[in-house]
């Protein structure tokens, strides 16, 4: 072990941060960003009131919200390091405003902090290192692709947001770190849903999708090019705007405490939350804060409708579980004045902070429904207004790769064998070394005959212990139920019964279930992968049935589900296909964008039976390469069965379970035994 003086070591954190700030002087100026009004507004509110906790930005693959977040970070860092320097007098040697980028492959110990091995060994007493969450204290945590962060890690981030501290009770470490930070994250909804915990604990969730005019797009591109060629010059060019934004924020912050929020205002916000079916009380609080921050930015001393609309739009709508019915909307929309247009937003935004609040927005006490509708009109309709559950999420095959697979899971034990990617188990290494210290010290002393003052711990290679991980990776059971034909209701009941019984066991194996129904030409996910009996209960009993049998569409839907599940740490899937096996609609006809990844292999050809079976074979091969095990469950009574189920199983390279007239229990038993087999192999 090196005997470098400890003093430099401990400062590694601040140095890293400062480096981070310095290496990013040329972030694209926030003030120069064209369009994306809602996102900018949400970030400005966050800048004004740290109590809003965070902003999450939904973005499509094309939108570069990550660099937007960095622009924001850079701007905020400037504001905060000048403003809050004198507030945070206690902090030494740390930048006033840390900006921490959280990589998706971060490990739990790095995130939370833990024992500082080197220092512990050097000093002989337990020494701690702060994790990234603690390093972000007083600053900003930026996460790109926040929905791809491993579920357990997201929960830690959410817990820290909630509590303002990180509590570590793991691997020999027992510590509490302060961790108050603001979170800015972006995510592509096509790659998976946001963790509900995180969703709950940030103030604003916005969609970056927008309809920019050609003009705006042209301007954005030209600015980007200019920035590329001459970052410094470009930043210089926007120095005035940047300065104005910063003084807007500073001014708004100082005004924040004086803004009057009346009971009436709170009542209206709570009313909106109730009518949108928002769960819990945190959102109400966030909405009040957002409205207040909005008023502060506009230099008003009390709330007006515009502030409440903004709060509804950015805080409440993304958490809505129901919306005013369309008819209601239509009717009211006619009476509604021009929606909170971009002008309004931009006006306060770029304005020098002194915009007088005398214009038409002043009239208050319009019915809350009107405000909700206005807020809905102001939101891009696609993602943000999508109800969080019930609709399937589908994705391409993941543009960012999540945590590498080695060394994932739970650290269960440690031993002295070193294998690839082994990570040192600090706690057990120290414990292994501990009993020998006295003897080793004596030996060294004898050899050197020096003073026995040093407390250094002597660790030999024999002491080293490496972590063994155990990953309890469950299986995703995808029930694909053929809703065509006369026996469909029967099949659905059987599948539901088996699914319910499977769920009772799901806890033990970390399994999840999903349900797809297919008929006519499409397949639809009725139950997205879940472990919850509560959710499964909500599956509609009477689904529409009848029509043709698009087996291929169902397979592709299942494939999409399995891919998404894999991104979220569920590597294996089993597909249970409840059908009589008469696949009679091809993908072409089922024609949808879902088939993306299979498109290359599909050539234009007549859609007869022949090509359907080719198609099924092809999908079967894809299923195999992605280790999704298909099982065809055929429950038709013997005398009607024509062997089509078996033929289908052969086509897609799956197993065939023939369970004539079986009830849910019999089906569950059969499924469970197949699953058990799969588990043993895995």
């Amino acid at each position: 072990m090196s005997s470098t003086p400890a003093s430099d070591r401990t400062s590694s954190i601040p140095v890293r941060n400062q480096g981070g700030l310095k290496s990013r002087p040329s972030a694209y100026p926030f003030a120069a960003i064209v369009g994306m009004q809602a996102v900018k507004r949400a970030l400005m509110l966050l800048a004004v009131d740290a109590g809003l906790q965070g902003t999450l930005i939904a973005s499509n693959a094309g939108a570069d919200t990550t660099s937007l977040a960095r622009s924001f970070a850079a701007m905020l860092a400037k504001v905060d390091s000048t403003i809050s320097n004198h507030e945070n007098h206690s902090v030494q040697a740390r930048p006033a405003f840390p900006v921490i980028d959280l990589p998706l492959n971060v490990t739990v110990d790095r995130l939370l902090g833990g024992i500082n091995l080197e220092r512990t060994i050097e000093t002989g007493t337990r020494q701690y290192t702060a994790g990234l969450l603690a390093e972000a204290n007083g600053g900003l945590l930026v996460v790109a692709g926040v929905n791809l962060l491993d579920a357990s890690l997201v929960d830690h981030v959410a817990a820290a947001l909630d509590a303002g501290v990180v509590r570590v009770e793991r691997e020999g470490a027992s510590a509490t770190f302060q961790s108050r930070f603001r979170l800015v994250g972006d995510y592509n909804p096509a790659e998976g849903e946001l963790s509900p915990h995180l969703r709950e604990r940030v103030g604003m969730i916005v969609d970056s999708a927008q309809e920019d005019s050609a003009e705006e797009i042209a301007e954005a591109v030209s600015r980007a090019l200019r920035f590329e060629q001459d970052p410094r010059g470009f930043i210089e060019e926007f120095a005035v705007e940047t300065g104005l934004l910063q003084s807007d924020i500073a001014g708004a912050r100082s005004r924040l405490g004086e803004i009057k929020v009346t009971s009436g205002d709170i009542r209206r916000i709570a009313e909106a939350a109730i009518s949108l079916g928002v769960e819990g009380n945190r959102a109400d609080l966030f909405a009040v804060k957002a409205a207040r921050a909005n008023a502060a930015l506009a230099a008003r001393d009390s709330l007006c409708d515009e502030d409440i609309i903004t709060a509804i739009q950015l805080v409440l709508l993304p958490r809505a579980t129901r919306f005013p019915s369309p008819e209601e909307r239509e009717e009211d929309a006619d009476e509604t004045a021009a929606p909170a247009s971009e002008e309004d937003v931009r006006d306060n935004h770029a304005g020098s902070g002194g915009r007088e609040a005398e214009d038409s927005n002043e009239q208050t006490d319009r019915p809350i429904e009107e405000l909700i509708i206005e807020a809905m009109d102001a939101v891009a309709p696609q993602e943000a207004l999508k109800l969080p559950r019930g609709k399937p999420v589908r994705g391409d095959s993941g543009r960012r790769s999540p945590v590498p697979d080695h060394a994932r899971g739970r650290y269960v034990s440690s031993d002295s064998r070193r294998n690839k990617n082994a990570r040192l188990a600090i706690d057990t290494t120290l414990r292994a070394a501990a009993p020998h210290q006295a003897a080793r010290r004596d030996r060294v002393v004898a050899v050197r005959s020096a003073g026995a003052k040093d407390k250094k711990i002597r660790i030999t290679p024999d002491d080293l212990r490496y972590k063994r991980f155990k990953r309890k990776s469950g299986i995703l059971f995808i029930f694909a139920v053929d809703a065509s034909g006369s026996m469909a209701l029967n099949r659905m009941a059987q599948a539901k019964g088996a699914l319910a019984r499977l769920l009772q066991q799901a806890y033990l194996h970390r399994d999840k279930v999903a349900l797809i129904s297919f008929r006519h030409s499409t397949a639809e996910t009725i139950l997205a992968p879940t472990r919850s009996v509560e959710l499964a209960k909500r599956i509609v009993d009477a689904l529409p049935t009848g029509g043709a049998t698009p087996v291929a569409a169902a397979l592709v839907e299942a494939l999409n589900l399995a891919r998404l599940a894999r991104l979220q740490g569920l590597p294996r899937a089993m597909l249970l296909l409840f059908t009589d096996g008469r696949a009679n609609v091809g993908l072409q006809k089922a024609g949808s964008q879902k088939v993306g990844s299979l498109a290359e292999s599909r050539k234009e050809r007549p859609q007869g039976r022949e090509s359907i079976s080719d198609e099924l074979k092809r999908i079967g091969r894809v299923l195999e390469t992605e280790s999704i095990a298909p099982v065809v469950v055929d429950t038709r009574p013997r005398f009607v069965s024509t062997g089509e189920g078996r033929a289908l199983a052969e086509l897609i390279g799956g197993r065939y379970l023939y369970l004539p007239r079986a009830d849910a229990t019999a089906i569950y038993n059969a499924v469970a035994s197949v699953a058990e087999e799969a588990r043993r192999q895995g």
Binding site: A6, S7, T10, I13, G51, L112, R119, E122, R126, Q127, T129, A130, A134, D155, H156, A159, D162, V165, V168, E169, R170, E171, G172, T176, F177, Q178, P196, E200, S263, I266, R267, A270, V278, E279, G280, N281, R282, A283, D284, L285, R410, D427, L430, R431, A433, A434, P435, Q437, A438, K472, K496, G497, L503, A506, Y507, L508, S532, V533, E534, K537
Partner: protein, 372 residues
């Protein structure tokens, strides 16, 4: 050599103002269940399941302030009760055989939060590395279970808890002791604690064995009453902006709630429950086909605690009715896709077993509601 460096050594325990229990608006069932467990820890803990952001953790964390201090053996790692020699840890036992009376002092009832991602070594305790390294002593470093002895152990997201930790908790809560056999340490110490769990049922099921450990099961919903919702926001805002003055305003409510609990704890052992009533409770459980006797026991204990909280020395039918649902909700056999809520099944059975009295049905906790 520096002994402590500012950032890297153990950070100072972080104190944060706790939102007071008395200021929590609504959610009467949850508050009642928690208070019952404070009055009688033998009820066996509470699990609170429901929507996110409805004040579950706020309530549990506020509990600590309501608990009257307890006597602890001085210097004992586990806070042994000087009055109960039978439950002493090994250390106290050894010391008490030497000297007649162990010195004791007053200390707070521990409310220990089991943080997310806690590892087994920290939960159970393990070899104290520091002492092993520096002094060459094989000493035990107590874990969270030791810290929670005689107090409360709170697990948020209890339905997402790792299986191996669930096993550890089940062992400890069944036996009241924590047995550690690891890293060359072999020790067993008292670990009696009241489990309090919370979670969102949409995120997964709870292991049945663990569910069974909880005495009371309460459900919590988003409040849809406009006035209450406004009040929640207003109070919270005041608390965040001026904690001191808010706490001052609520002080008298807080104090009276505290006294009520202290009083209830004092009288609760003297509360009588009529034999006839016990029969009816048994009937109720039979009607509902509750397995085992935990159902009856929990109802009896909880209704006694409730009577004590209301300052009575005998249990009434109404007490039983008010605690029956939370005592039985998780003990009914259920079909996973059953649509009828267990709560309404219990209501029906209650109506059948206790037909005469007009049902009051409310779960008000008396003077708990506070006007700001």
């Amino acid at each position: 050599m520096r002994k402590k460096s500012e950032q890297a050594s153990k950070p100072p325990a972080y104190q944060r103002k706790v939102y007071p229990f008395a200021a929590i608006v609504g959610q009467e069932e949850m508050k009642l269940a928690l208070m019952l467990c404070v009055v009688d820890p033998h009820i066996g803990g509470v699990i609170v399941m429901g929507h996110r952001g409805t004040g579950k953790s706020t309530a549990v964390r506020a509990l600590a302030d309501l608990l009257p201090p307890i006597a602890k053996v001085k210097g004992c790692l586990y806070g042994c009760d000087p009055e109960r020699a039978t439950e002493f840890c090994d250390d106290c036992q050894a010391r008490s055989s030497r000297s007649r009376r162990l010195a004791s002092d007053q200390g707070p009832v521990p409310v220990v939060d089991l943080p997310l991602g806690a590892t087994e070594d920290r939960v159970c305790g393990t070899l104290d590395i520091e002492r092993a390294l520096v002094e060459g002593v094989k000493a035990f470093e107590p874990g969270l279970l030791a810290r929670a002895n005689r107090g409360f152990l709170y697990i948020d997201e209890v339905n997402l808890l790792d299986d191996h930790l669930v096993d550890v908790l089940l062992d400890a809560s069944a036996s009241g002791r924590n047995v550690v056999e690891r890293e060359g340490i072999s020790i067993s110490h008292p670990a009696r604690f009241v489990l309090v769990g919370s979670g969102n049922p949409e995120e997964g099921e709870l292991r049945p064995q663990l569910l069974d450990r909880f005495g009371l099961y309460t459900q919590i919903y988003t409040i849809t009453d406009l006035d209450q919702r406004v009040e929640i926001v207003e109070r919270r805002e005041r608390f965040e902006r001026a904690a001191e003055s808010f706490l001052n305003d609520i002080q008298s409510e807080h104090e009276s709630l505290r006294l009520r609990i202290v009083e209830a704890k004092n009288v609760h052992s003297r509360v009588q429950i009529d034999r006839g009533l016990l029969r009816r409770i048994a009937e109720l459980c039979i009607t509902l086909q509750v397995d085992g006797h935990r159902g009856e026991l929990t109802i009896s204990r909880a209704s006694r605690a409730l009577a004590a909280l209301e300052g009575r020395l005998s249990v009434t039918v109404d007490d039983v009715k008010r605690v029956a649902t939370m005592s039985l909700r998780h003990r009914l056999r259920k079909d996973p896709l059953e649509r009828v809520d267990s709560g309404s099944r219990i209501e029906q059975a209650l109506a059948a077993v206790f037909p005469s009295v007009e049902s009051e049905g409310s779960l008000s906790t008396g003077n708990l509601r506070v006007r700001a």
